[in-house]
């Protein structure tokens, strides 16, 4: 493509048969994509929907994982709080014993 462009710019060729044929092929390709043929339009729309569904599916999958992370984060906070509480419960009698021994 870039080679063609360069050659077009440097040596403009007269509108010959091969170029016309190439342009016609390009027009046919574009028509196939967007119409006025309704079948092509429907095909394009279907492709768009499929792409949208794929993107939506991927995003929902990611959302499931992100949601799971959020639940785990919450569970971690809960567990940390409980562990702190249990530590305090365990340490409290030890401290009391230590204080008692110190007073002796």
């Amino acid at each position: 493509m870039s080679t063609d462009e360069t050659s077009t710019r440097t040596t403009p060729a007269p509108a010959g048969a091969p170029e016309v044929a190439a342009l016609r092929a390009e027009v046919a390709r574009l028509r196939d994509l967007v119409g006025p043929d309704e079948v092509a339009y429907v095909k394009l729309k279907t492709e768009l929907w499929a792409a949208r569904d794929a993107a939506m599916g991927a995003e929902l999958e990611a959302g499931t994982l992100r949601g799971r992370v959020q639940s785990l984060e919450s569970a971690l906070v809960r567990a940390t709080r409980q562990s702190r509480y249990l530590q305090r419960l365990a340490i409290s009698p030890l401290r009391k014993g230590k204080d008692f021994l110190r007073k002796l």
């Binding site: 569904d53 939506m56 949601g67 919450s74 906070v77």
Partner: protein
Amino acid sequence: MPLFSVVTPVYDPPEAVLRACLDSVRAQTCTDWEHCLVDDGSTQPYVRNVLREYAAADRRFRVVEREANGGIIAASNDALGMAAGEFVALLDHDDLLVPDALALVAEALAADPTIDYCYSDEDNLTAQGELITPFYKPDWSPERFRSQMYTCHFSVARRSIVEEVGRFHPGFEGSQDFDLILRVTERARRVHHIPKILYHWRMLPTSVAGNAAAKPYAYESGRRAVQAHCDRTGLAATVEHGRVNGIYRVRRHVPDPLPLVSVIIPTIGTSGRVWGVERCFVLECVRSLLELCTYDNLEIVVVADTPTPAWVIRALERVAGDRLKVVWFDRPFNFSEKMNLGAAHATGDYLLLLNDDIEVVSPDFLHTMVGIAAGEPDVGMVGAKLLFADGRLQHAGHVYNDGNPYHAMFRFHGDELGPSGLLLVQRECSGVTAACALVKASVFDEVGGFTPLLGNNFNDVDFSLKVRHKGHRIIWTPHAELYHFESMSREPKVLVPEHDFIKLRWWHQLNHDPYYNPNLAPSRDDWVEADLA
């Protein structure tokens, strides 16, 4: 101090479990109680012996022995027949009361003599003696109670009301307490919640706490109990089983003909990419309303800022036709003013406040919301379950905690059940987002709409609190689902003066959310318990 009659039908509990239950009653710091025990023809001989032993040692244990097993309802009614106290406390034969349970109830009753029914928080006791899964409950939430028997065991009711409603009714085996409490609360002047764990629910393989499938018949009884409640109270609804056992959906019947709903959508016609495809938000919002939503008596009021592109309006006209009203807004952006302007042009009995970056998920969402709002005169506003584009929760009702408003369970997955089924039940809440809320037009007028002083943030918090201040209930429903494509990468910009304003105006309400619980951690929205003392 009133006399409490603790009512317990007994049928073949393990001996140690029964003794623990009786000991927990005997250890009450409040001494004005009697324990009415009915042995429902237990097959294990130790049951009778243990009951006789306790009755001999303390005359406050009163025991009746049935000749044959008559079932839990007959035994419970016999126990109620023995009761002489002003209040009856329902307790299962395997539950444990904490020592000051009755004292705290007595204290609450002394503070407010109009209390007719009282319940507390709870946790579960495992076979290994561990206390797990605390359930920190909301204050009285009748809508949630219809969806879930959340007050559970150990609840205290005025005996005169229990007698008035005819004690336990046969036919509700397994959910007999749910049926009774529904009937009691229909007549109660005041229902009180003590935000403390006053009993431990033992997880035995034969109890629902230990095994949700232990009593499959209980769930159908529960559904029938709620249906009977709706029929008694004139609530036109059909009660269905929810996604999990023990959760019910009260599907309200919508009025016929359908009332006109004015959908108010503020917009500036922006576009953005959702699921990889560029869309004009307001256009897709209106398209989804008209193509997906099954409610057809709609008026669409689009409040458009003047820079809204003309092609957007033309496209809206093509999509919505005669149902569209475009109202131009030519002042600097102010969400509240835009909504008030839209409401002034609306002619419907109900206003659906809707952001333009919304897309319908449940086709019947508006039937659900209108049904709830129309079903009871004191419901002022109804909120919906909003999901981000990736299926996570954007909105499941507001939580006002530690002086700040939050979205409940924000960014959890949309399919989560939530703590104690929170995300599956229709419930009262302190506020809902105006991104999607149905409000009665009369209530909107009564509270004077949105305050223009909050042009960007917290206008829905203020609006919700005004609605509740006027005595209306706000209901959040998980059965109305919509997408809300609010930016997830960008943290919402909060203006300090607006934050100060809302805190000043609603300080008490933002620190005391009746549908949260003081035992839960401050500055959180996920029902994590506060630090244990």
